[in-house]
């Protein structure tokens, strides 16, 4: 038999394996397809539609023009109006907005008489990439407005409008501050999901699942036991990573420590639920790993972990609300970087709890149907 014939024989057999195992075939096709769509469509490094709040203490024509410039900018999306500086900063701390603009009183009058005016712009620095682009866009708006005001003036004249961007929470724009707290959340979820995903599949492969099912251990206790072990490991991972975050990266928890502990606990239920889905669906450990990877990919790409959600198409951003990591990251960055409290983060905790209940119930039901 020639080499070519041998090669064709083996290749034909491999394709036959894939055809006979549609599950693996779907996963083999689905994984690159999801990656392809994620990178090609959903992910965009250009920031746009950044939620922005404005407090206009002037309210006259020139200030309205400035507001319109922010409104017409592709980078900013005016979502809130504030009546006080505290309210503006509160919105930033809660994560309702990423940018807050304060136009001072008499802005229009001063601009009209070419008197210098300054506009304060606070930018959430917990996402360094977003903050950088927002600073640049805000400065461009300020520059454009200033040029309009000075048309006809001398080249040496000082620009009458000073737009003062101030990056809060991570003023140095340090990447570690942005990624490390998010990584803690992500790894806690990943560890938990993976352990649960592999647990029952492993039992099934070894033949111990049948043996367990004829003992006095009920299916509910079996699943709960595995969930508790997975949760304990996930929590342990979270504790170790928190210590490393402080000692190695020098990132302190800006908010309440006990709220941080509660957050670590809150990350677990949705991950456990997704793990149950995987362990019920997979026939063997290799499939469980592939499925886990398929789930983790959007968790990393669409949650705001690397790419700002503000830069995603509306449909993708809406889908990302179903990803637990989206809320975990918001909570983690909120507590660690912005010093946000319970009241600020209650909606994100609520969403995590809701996803936890839904995924756990659906996962348990799926598993029950599979085994009973």
């Amino acid at each position: 038999m020639t080499f070519g014939r041998q090669l064709l024989l083996v290749a034909g057999k491999e394709l036959l394996h894939l055809r006979r195992d549609p599950y693996t075939l779907v996963l083999t096709v689905a994984l690159p397809l999801v990656q392809f769509l994620l990178f090609g469509y959903a992910l965009d490094t250009r920031v746009h539609d950044v939620p922005t709040a404005i407090q206009n203490l002037d309210g006259e024509r020139f200030s309205r023009t400035l507001v319109d410039q922010f409104r017409n900018s592709a980078v900013f999306r005016l979502t809130h109006r504030a009546d006080s500086e505290e309210e503006l900063l509160g919105m930033l701390r809660r994560g309702d907005v990423r940018v807050a603009v304060q136009i001072p009183p008499h802005y229009s009058a001063n601009a009209f008489y070419h008197r210098p005016v300054s506009v304060r712009v606070w930018i959430d620095g917990s996402d360094a990439a977003l903050a950088g682009q927002a600073v640049f866009a805000a400065q461009s708006i300020g520059l454009e407005q200033a040029v309009s005001m000075t048309v006809g003036g001398t080249p040496a004249a000082r620009l009458p409008l000073q737009l003062q961007p101030e990056v809060l929470f991570n003023p140095a724009g340090r990447s570690a501050n942005y990624f490390v707290p998010a990584l803690v959340a992500n790894l806690v979820e990943m560890t938990t999901l993976l352990l649960v995903a592999l647990s029952l599949v492993k039992e099934r492969e070894r033949g111990t699942l049948d043996q367990l099912r004829i003992t006095n251990i009920r299916l509910g206790a079996l699943i709960s036991g595995k969930l508790v072990a997975g949760a304990a490991m996930g929590l342990g991972t979270g504790c170790v990573l928190t210590i490393l975050m402080r000692l190695v990266f020098g990132i302190a928890i800006g908010g309440d420590f006990w709220l941080y502990c509660l957050a670590l606990l809150a990350f677990l239920p949705p991950a456990l639920g997704l793990g149950l889905f995987v362990t019920a669906a997979a026939r063997n450990q290799a499939q469980a790993l592939q499925l886990t990877y398929l789930l983790l990919l959007p968790c990393i790409m669409l949650s705001g972990f690397v790419f700002p959600r503000e830069a995603m198409p509306a449909a993708v951003a809406a889908f990302s609300m179903l990803i637990p990591t989206t809320w975990s990251l918001d909570i983690m960055r909120g507590i660690v970087l912005r010093g946000a409290g319970w009241a600020d983060l209650a909606p994100s905790f609520g969403m995590l709890a809701l996803l936890g209940v839904v995924y756990l119930s659906a996962g348990a039901l799926h598993l029950r149907r599979r085994f009973l």
């Binding site: 070894r206 111990t208 049948d210 367990l212 004829i214």
Partner: protein, 234 residues
């Protein structure tokens, strides 16, 4: 009767795996299940364990109707599957302890039963060995020890002696006879005719039906005829 099966049917998709099977095993009785691969022996045992739901007919194990009273029947069944179902990363004693506890025995009783099982199956010297490192024969002993630690009323063995050397097989049969003497009802599937001859009675399964039931000596001639016919077809 410890095992009562009446008109049992089971379908894999639309293909009948079991069709109108009726069988009974009394306490202390040993019934052998004979049949070619795919005849339905493992399916029948899995239904008796409560792992599969019967498609039709009725099944009672240790006085409990399956699948309705499956949870109550659990503690009365001992099952050794072809795959053994042992945790290979656990040590011998750890496997025994885990399964004994899983059958609902209290701690003090567990300690006693584990010690008893280790001695009964000559596993004492290997109690600290990793199960994955044991030979097939030793793993088989451990699987049997785990299935018997809670002293079940019904023992179901799915080709429990497959791949064992004659000495190991003899030991398995010694245990089966001891358990029968204790009063356990035993149903064992096997491909070995000499083992079938050791059973009180034998059920010959063919294409999901009981093609013959009785003492092995009474069935021997019809089995010979069946084998000759099967060989002729092959």
């Amino acid at each position: 009767m410890s095992i009562e099966i009446d008109g049992l049917g089971y379908y894999y998709r639309s293909r009948p795996a079991l069709n109108g099977v009726s069988l009974a095993v009394r306490p202390g009785g040993v019934v052998g299940l004979l049949g070619a691969n795919g005849a339905g022996k493992s399916t029948l045992l899995r239904i008796l364990c409560g792992l599969l739901k019967p498609g039709q007919g009725s099944v009672r194990v240790a006085g409990y109707e399956l699948p309705r009273e499956r949870d109550r029947a659990r503690g009365s069944i001992g099952y050794v599957a072809q795959q053994f179902g042992l945790y290979e990363d656990l040590r011998v004693e750890e496997n025994l302890r885990f399964y004994t506890r899983a059958y609902g025995l209290e701690e003090a009783e567990t300690v006693e039963r584990v010690q008893e099982a280790l001695q009964r199956f000559d596993l004492d010297a290997r109690r600290a060995d990793r199960t994955g490192a044991l030979s097939h024969g030793w793993r088989q002993r451990l699987a049997l020890a785990c299935a018997l630690a809670h002293r079940p009323a019904v023992l179901l063995l799915d080709e429990a002696t497959a791949g064992l050397d004659p000495a190991a097989r003899r030991q398995v049969w010694r245990v089966i006879q001891e358990e029968a003497a204790r009063g356990a009802a035993i149903l064992i599937s096997t491909h070995h005719l000499d083992e079938a001859a050791r059973c009180d009675s034998v059920a010959w399964l063919h294409e999901g039906r009981v093609a013959g039931f009785g003492r092995y000596s009474d069935l021997e001639s019809s089995l010979d005829e069946f084998f000759s016919r099967a060989q002729g077809v092959a």
